[in-house]
């Protein structure tokens, strides 16, 4: 094999595949050692029967001749670095059946913790990530980011080269240099620092501890924008103990979110969304009610029953008013507006009615004092230990030093050697730390990371890191539950894990030396040998844990805490003083926030996430500065206008975007853009880091001024008004219980054509608008499952995005204070489909089981079907969007789904490949397809469990039951299209005090 071609390595790890049909447990486990180092043979196997005749017979001759021709053709197809040769097995692997997918349980990062997933692989190529039902953070679902981790695995911009002083080098050279550098710290390690992101992995934490232990005086610093450091500090201030918190929304009836997007942000978001949706499905008497106060409309705020647009700086004061109302504080700030006061009063009454079943949640962006106050309120409401659980820190770096301390130490000349792993401070730290220059000032700086990112460029040494799907490991979930990571593919770019690197740097500090995934596995096993959960029969437990992906009952136990008497002392001034900041007419409050898709920018090079429309605003590929309509008018700016944003001495240029419901006098700046990770991230959006300071990490005062220039912003939804159309039906839960027919409308039923008959199945989907939170996970899951191409910003601007399911968001009510309604729209699979009628070549046809099929290879691309689709769910390949010439995309594609060529229409198929798979299995077993056997990708991923799919002909199917609900209705059913996808009307749950209106 020549140097420029690289074979995609097959999995070889002693991993444990999951039996998809029945996750039957330990007996399915394979002998780990036998799997080790299984590889595709590189030489071709001999043709013909090895024991047969010496000369090929005629048939065989033509076989060989044909094969040679075919191979000659294939050889001509070699393209790019990820060339995939087709070669036969010498020894057929036992558990790899060509054409059949296998799943492996593993875990991937979620916020500052881990979540359990199942990775689907086809012929050892990971093609899809699903949630792990056994894992509490997942419960079978994932969020959008977790789905997209798959694409980052195949990212061609991932680092594949070691660097030394800006030039390529070898591992041996780096190792020699680093060992020499470390040798200086043998006696006195004070000049040696380790800087990491959050470390939810116990084994890595232990390895780091041992490593640092070798060098007395050395220190560990942590910097992770996703880590809940302020919540942690708030807990410490309130209870005097270091810990992390998580919520039990399944126990809650009244929830108040203060600048907290708990349904989207943080390690527990998926689980919270699930529990939240469950709480919304209870009857009116016990239905969960959500209050939200926030500057920028978020997913959480958008599904709140009572949302209060509030500047970030006013959140603390409003909470103080709430505390006064509840008797937690002596008095409130006393200057809240009528709107704020009534919101607070209603919330207070509601919270008091549900002691122990309520929750006051605070977002990470709020200062420590607000977190502490929230703890006090929760404590007062007896929520601590019930709906709000405090545990030992999930993140093992919780006790580590801060980045500011590190910066100060470097400035003081105390640091000679700096090792950085899994964090990118140069891009994500506030500008005043000037961390990039300081890293350059260190003698020896070493960086281990997935990308040669901004930090890597400032370091003397850079070593590519293995992707989470490429390596062994372990980690804790938001509630402390332990899971194991097993690689599902060998490192594509030869990346290394932190365990591997530490072992190589200090072989004497670790139990198992050696390099590569095999050694990592032994290190991990060595670590877990000592763990009580593995005490009984280590090998069996190990196999079962790998198979299940989760260590049973390993959640961290709740800590019992008591509120300190002086929990709130000293913070009152801070809470009240906030309003002064940015209070002047000319001043704006600049609130910083993680981007809902690319977070702090770590996923900025991920096309799926870049093109995934943001919740509420439906923007892609950019991070415009968000302002409310009144403020925008005051500033004289419109969506797309460029503004010069100043704070102190710093200024940035950014596009602005007007969003109704944004707190006035404030501007939200999303982080994560203006990055230099790779070709996708490069040149996208702007970086707001320059405006941040380590003092005011999430909030600053500033001014914004239009420059007169405009940016082109790619939005996938331009019109957010429903125009009085009956698209989303809703009523209060109470009204619905009084009159179940409240959602019924007359439907016409006339047709020239006879009705279809469905002798076998009649597939149907129901989307519960009451559960949907509008997060958009379904869109990426669909993209991954169905090989949906990314079209790029310019094509989104041209209205040519390809998502088969989209999430529409409508604004209802007042522009300054609207409510938000989400509606996922996949293909409706109409029984009287307008598209089928107009296709001139029968490329879209009705199947016997009720699908509206797209026959790609028959489509000539008249696009008439799209024009005639009232739902506009059809997507057209105006160009060769699939980029079939880019080899790096190939291994991640789902082989069950056609990659569409240019000029062809496509749309949601109800995951017909999954239906086919289930049908084949059912046929083999001579039984009908069971309810729940076919799960569409959007249904499977949905954190809110809002999608039900099944056979409408099966009287016992869940979908049949749900379709009989009085809330069931068809979108635009007055057109007589008879949509097969239907919706369950949304129920609202306004509080008793303000039952009428808002």
């Amino acid at each position: 094999m020549s140097d420029h071609t690289r074979r995609l390595p097959i999995v070889s790890h002693g991993g444990e595949p999951v039996d998809r049909a029945a996750r039957s447990g330990g007996d399915e486990a394979r002998d780990a050692a036998r799997d080790e180092d299984r590889q595709l043979e590189q030489s071709a196997a001999p043709l013909g029967d090895p024991g047969g005749t010496e000369h090929p017979d005629r048939r065989e001759f033509f076989g060989i001749a044909g094969a040679s021709l075919a191979l000659a053709g294939l050889a001509g197809c070699g393209r790019g670095p990820l060339r995939d040769d087709i070669e036969p097995y010498v020894h057929e692997p036992e558990d790899v059946v060509p054409g059949r997918a296998s799943s492996y349980a593993t875990s991937v990062p979620a916020g500052a913790a881990e979540t359990g997933v199942l990775v689907t692989t086809h012929m050892a190529r990971p093609t899809k990530i699903e949630g792990n039902e056994l894992h509490p953070a997942s419960d079978g679902a994932t969020d959008a980011v977790t789905q997209a981790i798959l694409l980052s695995l195949y990212d061609p911009d991932r680092s594949a080269t070691l660097f030394r002083d800006g030039g390529a080098t070898t591992w041996r050279r780096v190792l020699a240099d680093m060992r020499a550098a470390l040798a200086r710290h043998e006696a006195d390690g004070t000049g040696l620092r380790l800087l990491t992101g959050a470390v939810p992995s116990p084994s890595i934490a232990e390895t780091y501890d041992r490593f640092l232990g070798r060098f007395p005086g050395s220190m560990w610093h942590a910097h992770d924008p996703l880590a809940p450091t302020r919540a942690r500090a708030g807990i410490e201030q309130a209870f005097g103990t270091i810990g992390d918190l998580h919520y039990r929304l399944d126990e809650a009836r009244v929830v108040a979110a203060f600048d907290s997007d708990f349904l989207m942000e943080g390690a527990g978001a998926v689980r919270y969304a699930r529990d939240f949706a469950q709480g919304r499905r209870r009857g009116a008497a016990d239905m969960l009610r959500l209050y939200a106060a926030e500057p920028m409309p978020t997913v959480t705020g958008s599904v709140a029953d009572h949302r209060l647009p509030l500047r970030s700086g006013d959140v603390g004061r409003t909470m103080l008013a709430l505390a006064a109302e509840l008797g937690v504080a002596r008095s409130g700030p006393g200057d809240e507006t009528e709107r704020e006061a009534s919101w607070v009063r209603a919330l207070a009454r509601d919270l008091e009615d549900s002691p122990g079943r309520s929750l006051v949640a605070v977002g990470e962006r709020q200062p420590v004092s607000v977190h502490a106050l929230a703890m006090a309120i929760n404590d007062h409401l007896q929520n601590v230990g019930r709906t709000l659980i405090i545990t030992e820190p999930v993140d093992e770096s919780a006790g580590a030093g801060t980045l500011s301390e590190l910066a100060a130490d470097i400035e003081a000349g105390d640091v000679q050697t700096l090792l950085i792993a899994g964090t990118n401070p140069v891009a994500t730290a506030p500008a005043d730390l000037a961390i990039g220059d300081r890293i350059e000032a260190v003698d020896v700086s070493f960086h281990l990371g997935l990308y040669r990112d901004e930090t890597a460029r400032r370091c003397r040494y850079h070593v590519p890191e293995a992707h989470p799907l490429e390596r062994w490991g372990d980690g804790r979930a938001f509630d402390g539950t332990l899971s194991l990571r097993q690689p599902v593919i060998r490192p594509i770019d030869g990346g290394r894990s932190p365990l591997d690197v530490v072992a190589a740097l200090t072989p004497d500090a670790v139990d198992v030396a050696g390099e590569g995934p095999g050694a990592d596995r032994e290190r991990l096993r060595a670590y877990w040998r000592g763990h009580p959960a593995f005490a009984a029969d280590f090998d069996a437990t190990w196999r079962r844990t790998l198979h299940d992906g989760v260590v049973p009952a390993s959640a961290l136990p709740p800590m019992s805490v008591t509120l300190r008497d002086d929990a709130l002392s000293g913070s009152r001034g801070e809470l009240e003083g906030a309003r002064q900041q940015g209070g002047d007419e000319g001043d704006l409050e600049l609130a910083f926030a993680l981007h809902p898709r690319v977070l702090d920018g770590r996923y900025a090079n991920n096309e799926w996430l870049q093109e995934l429309p943001t919740p509420i605003t439906n923007l892609t590929w950019d991070n415009p500065a968000m302002v409310g309509p009144t403020t925008a008018e005051r500033l004289g700016i419109r969506s797309g206008d460029e503004v010069r944003i100043r704070s102190g001495q710093a200024e940035v240029l950014a596009p602005a975007w007007v969003i109704p419901g944004h707190a006035e006098g404030a501007m939200t700046l999303h982080l994560g853009y203006g990055r230099e990770l790779g070709r996708v991230a490069e040149g996208r959006g702007f970086s707001a880091e320059a405006l941040r300071s380590s003092e005011a990490l999430w909030r600053a005062a500033g001014q914004a001024q239009a420059t007169g220039r405009t940016w082109t912003i790619a939005s996938t939804q331009h019109h957010h008004q429903m125009e009085g159309r009956d698209l989303i039906r809703e009523a209060s839960a109470e009204a619905y219980e009084r009159d179940a027919e409240i959602f019924a409308r007359p439907i016409p039923d006339l047709s020239l054509y006879p009705d279809w008959e469905y002798p076998a199945e009649k597939w149907a989907m129901v989307i519960d608008l009451n559960s949907c939170i509008g997060c958009g996970a379904c869109m990426v899951a669909c993209q991954a499952e169905n090989n949906i191409p990314v079209v790029g910003k310019e094509e989104v601007v041209n209205a040519r995005e390809m998502h088969w399911i989209r999430v529409d968001t409508y604004y209802t009510g007042d522009d300054d204070d609207p409510e938000f309604r989400h509606q996922p729209v996949p293909c409706m699979h109409c029984e009287r489909a307008p598209c089928e009628l107009v296709c001139p070549v029968q490329a879209t046809v009705h199947s016997t089981d009720g699908l509206n099929d797209m026959v790609y290879n028959r489509c000539v691309g008249t696009r008439y079907c799209s024009n005639n689709c009232p739902y506009k769910v059809r997507r057209f390949n105006f160009f060769d969007y699939a980029r079939r010439d880019e080899a790096h995309l190939d291994p991640g594609r789902n082989p069950e789904v056609t990659v569409r060529t240019r000029g062809v229409m496509e749309k949601c198929t109800y995951c017909v490949q999954r239906i086919s798979l289930a049908r084949i299995e059912a046929k083999n077993e001579q039984r009908p397809i069971r309810d729940g056997e076919v799960v569409t990708a959007c249904q499977q991923v949905c954190p809110a469990d809002a999608i039900v799919f099944g056979d409408g002909n099966d009287p016992d199917a869940r979908v049949t039951e749900v379709r009989q609900s009085p809330r069931n209705y068809g979108l635009l059913e007055e057109l007589n299209t008879r949509p097969r996808t239907t919706y369950l009307a949304k129920l609202t749950n306004p509080g008793p005090e303000r039952g009428s209106g808002r």
Partner: protein, 453 residues
Amino acid sequence: MARPDENEPPVIEPGHGDASVTDAIGSIPLSKAPKSWLIGFAIGFALLMLLIVSVIYLFSVGVGIWGIQVPVAWGFAIIAFVFWIGIGHAGTLISAILLLMYQPWRTSISRFTEAMTLFAIAAASLFPVLHLGRPWLFYWLIPYPSAIGAWPQFRSPLVWDVFAITTYATLSLVFWYIGLVPDLASMRDRAKRPLAKIAYGVMALGWRGSARHWHRYQVAYVILAALAAPLVVSVHSVVSFDFAVAIVPGWHSTIFPPYFVAGAIFSGFAMVLILVIPIRRIYKLKAFITDHHLDNSAKILLVTGLIVSYGYFSEAFYAWYSADEYHRYMMYNRAFGDYAPYFWALIAFNFLAPQVFWFRRYRRHVPTLFAVSLLVLLGMWYERFVIVVQSLHRDYMPSAWRFYDATFWDWTTLLGSFGLFFTLLFVFVRLLPMVSIAEMRELAHHEREGGHS
């Protein structure tokens, strides 16, 4: 035959005999081309080259080079298709229906307008193929016994289009050619250069001008005219089904077939005037194409313009009367939305401008005729733009509403189609007698003999 009243200008200037007619018309292809022909041909040919470049680029990367998107998945290509098909209708109307109705004034312009019809169909029929996502598979719309047993989907109006357009093109070609045969024989006889002799001779199909020839010729011509007559109504009706059958507000309307047919004739006559006015001047054919022709064409413009305007009115009325919120919004948006300027422009050009033709003075005032014809042509293009784009850009789901913008390549393809049209037209003018010599001689004969028909 109805006698023209005293105020009517004659359909042929008096004083022409058989020989003078043949000289005046037949000498044009046989003599040197005037400079204005060269200039016109050069421009048309340059635009044709632009079309070829655009199409090569289109085929290499895909229809994404145009402004089309979702929801506006049809754009300039379909607009141009409807536009060009409409242009063709005037020719068929003149040559078939007016022939059957014994309107002698049609004689001098029928050949030319038939040619115009053919070339308009040529330009139009490009677009249904060009606009396909995979144009190389266009033949899948044609019913043929394929090995996989796949047939077109006959409920789709696009399949009906295939039949309508191919029938129209075939019949128009045959009709035009049959009409040419006697003249080709005249050309053969007059041509001096051997190549021209042979070429005209082959095309003349051995015409010797015998009484039997004339008899067969006239029978065939009338039969073909009878066959072509319904096409005037049917072709654009079928084209209108592309829209009327669909569910899109602004398309789904029963008024569409008559409204489209009237619109087609309307725009066709505008095009006839735009072409005839300069040509009769350049080639000094005022003797044959007289003010009488202009007057009649203007009257047709006025009538069809009023029918089209009635269509506009009835669309608005039924949007309101249907009480259908989607149709009502469509109409409101048409008049006051993003594309309102196009709508008001088409009202001004198609409804208001032809009103001047109530006055005879303007019907014979050449500059007015020319200007109004240009406005009508533009207005009819706007009309198709509004129907195609405005209806689609805001239909049922407000979340999917988008704005459509044409791209550079949209414009080049549109201009290029004019290039094709004009190149063909200039070649025709150069090589063939643009007025029917035989029929003009017959007409001149009638004029001299006091007309017994």
